[in-house]
């Protein structure tokens, strides 16, 4: 499989300027020394707790925000320090679907105009715009007549379909979906996930699926990358990540997942709160919460290393630990 998107040693931090008296200037280290590659045809799940940098990574990958250092290569072109004029044609190849279908659609535009915007921005031939908009609406399970309605006339699930139709307009190769189903009801979630799976085959798409919901990720993704405080700490095929995790943090996430079976009640409760990305612990960033941490973990920061051809992990003790999957 060929590489569609790759990030190499990428860093991104944000500076918060203390404006009010007594407020200090703090730096949020959102993405730290992160390397990750997405292959054509992948459905890569990016999981982690809130504040771990998942969304920042999505924005870096689509060039919506610039990286501080490192390189990001999309489809063979280095997009790290590319001008916005040169970025524009490349952006046709990658689109985003956002979490909140209520704030990502302009309430004062008709669906027709929302779906026409990509044509106008990218100077596409306007002749077949109308038929294409209709086709896109049909592809996501809406009616062509829905084009004249406004976003508020639709339910949450239908709005997310409109967001997906908009992302499809430019026939991208890569779709980065940032928590696309977490704002939706359970039964509607299942419908949107089924839609994304169908569209993947129909338009041969590659997905980066950002989510904190491990059960959805398990269902839709072929590979999983686990993030903790701006770093990838484990990558591998979905089934292996769930059955034999290599990183204690992955184990903690899996153990915290409530199983719908009263005979399998969990004894183990994860400890510790999510640390702030403005004060990342030294050594392995996970060591304060890790039940297996020893002295070395407090000083030495583990690199993401290859364990097998498809699996990587960033843990000093991964070879000696036997961790539980589900």
């Amino acid at each position: 499989m060929s590489e569609l998107l790759s990030l190499n040693q990428v860093n991104k931090s944000f500076h918060l300027h203390g404006r009010a008296p007594g407020h200090k200037r703090t730096t949020i280290f959102a993405v730290n020394n992160l390397s990750l590659s997405v292959h054509r045809g992948d459905v890569l799940g990016l999981v982690g707790e809130s504040g771990c940098g998942k969304s920042t990574l999505g924005k870096l990958a689509t060039g919506l925000i610039p990286a501080d250092s490192g390189t990001i290569v999309f489809n063979g072109t280095d997009i790290t320090r590319i001008s916005s004029r040169k970025m524009r044609p490349l952006r046709r190849g990658m689109q985003m679907v956002f979490q909140d279908p209520f704030s990502s659609l302009n309430p004062r535009m008709r669906v027709r105009d929302i779906l026409a915007e990509p044509f106008l921005i990218h100077n596409l031939p306007p002749e077949n715009m109308r038929t294409q908009i209709e086709q896109n609406l049909l592809a996501v399970g809406l009616e062509p007549t829905d084009a004249q309605r406004y976003p508020h006339e639709f339910s949450g699930g239908q709005r997310q379909r409109i967001g997906i139709a908009r992302a499809l307009t430019l026939r991208p190769e890569l779709i980065i979906a940032d928590e696309p189903v977490s704002a939706l009801d359970l039964s509607v979630q299942a419908q949107i996930v089924a839609l994304l799976q169908r569209l993947k085959l129909e338009f041969s798409l590659t997905y980066v699926f950002i989510s904190h919901d491990l059960s959805v990720v398990r269902h839709i993704c072929t590979r999983v990358a686990v993030m903790y405080l701006g770093r990838i700490i484990e990558v591998g095929p979905t089934a292996q990540i769930f059955s034999t995790p290599l990183h204690p943090y992955t184990e903690m996430l899996l153990q915290a997942l409530p199983v719908a079976d009263p005979r399998q009640r969990k004894k183990y409760t994860p400890s510790g709160d999510i640390p702030s990305p403005s004060a990342i612990p030294p050594g392995c960033p996970f060591h304060p919460r890790c039940p297996y941490a020893h002295q070395g973990c407090k000083t030495q920061t583990p690199e993401l290393t290859e364990v097998t051809a498809t699996r990587q992990v960033a843990c000093l003790r991964h070879a000696e630990l036997k961790l539980d999957g589900i």
Partner: protein, 284 residues
């Protein structure tokens, strides 16, 4: 909501399960006499220590709410007042219901924060809700609910807004506090995983009626009602769960003996000593 009967026991958890809009939260509100207009309790009783809460006036109810029956809400950011420190909000409960003075209330509030696992409790009293993480905010709200040693705690989707690791911690906290205080807990949730892990009894709701209720093990092992089976198949199928295209679930899919008729809805029938199902026929 139609023909709903629920029993809460000391130091046990009863879960109310169903999809959004099925009447879970209205059930909780009717216990506390808080059903919003134009809704009202048309018939039935809410018995708490041999007293029917539906017959009490607002004044008498106010003395029970927050005192003997407390509630934890889904979203601590909207349930907590953003312009008061969490200390002030917990102290208010104690001043109102327990008649403590300011100093005693503050000491008790710090102790409560300590009990729910908030580090540096005496400093945290002066924090405002926005200064706390989601998990810490939920802990603060639990501390507030526990302030008056309630006999019943109603937890309405207490962990839906939280990350899984924090969710597990909060559920563990509720469990330990419940054991220590002998509290009856009504857990409202749409998450069958949470319910399987933490509930002793389950009531499944569909369109305002309980379709099946009873002991957690019995329901998960021998689900009777087609709706229960449908929900369980969604979560227990493991990886293949969503392979089939999800269709909206309607009573038209149920066997005739479970379907409501124009004459009304079926009665609850006993399946075993700890388990009953809404059906026109006695279950085999």
């Amino acid at each position: 909501m139609r023909d709903l009967s629920l029993t809460l026991y000391p130091s046990q958890t009863t879960a109310l399960v169903g999809e959004s809009g099925c009447g879970k939260s209205i059930t909780a509100l009717s216990i506390l006499g808080l059903v919003p207009e134009p809704g009202r309790i048309v018939d039935g009783q809410v018995l708490f220590e041999q007293r029917d809460l539906t017959l009490l006036n607002q004044d008498q109810l106010r003395r029970i709410r927050g005192n003997q029956i407390a509630m934890v809400f889904q979203d601590p950011m909207t349930a907590l007042n953003p312009v008061f420190s969490i200390g002030a909000q917990i102290e208010e409960v104690l001043l109102l219901h327990r008649g403590l003075n300011r100093k005693e209330a503050r000491a008790k509030a710090a102790e409560l924060l300590h009990q729910v696992g908030i580090p540096n409790p005496s400093e945290r009293l002066d924090s405002f809700p926005h200064q706390l993480s989601g998990g810490m905010r939920q802990r603060a709200m639990i501390a507030m609910a526990l302030a008056c040693d309630p006999q019943i705690l109603i937890a309405d989707e207490p962990t839906t807004a939280l990350d899984v690791t924090i969710q597990a911690q909060i559920m563990h906290l509720l469990r330990t506090q419940q054991q220590q205080r002998n509290m009856g807990v009504l857990l409202i949730s749409h998450d069958l995983g949470i319910v399987a892990q933490h509930a002793d009894h389950i009531a499944l709701m569909y369109a305002g009626m309980v379709v099946e209720q009873g002991d957690t093990y019995s329901i998960f092992e021998q689900p009777q009602h087609p709706y229960t089976r449908h929900l369980l198949s969604c979560v227990q199928g493991g990886q293949d769960a969503g392979e089939a295209t999800p269709v909206p679930h309607t009573p038209a899919l149920w066997a005739e003996r479970y379907r409501p008729r124009t004459s009304g809805i079926p009665p609850m029938q006993v399946f075993n000593k700890h388990h009953s199902v809404r059906s026109w026929e006695v279950p085999a």
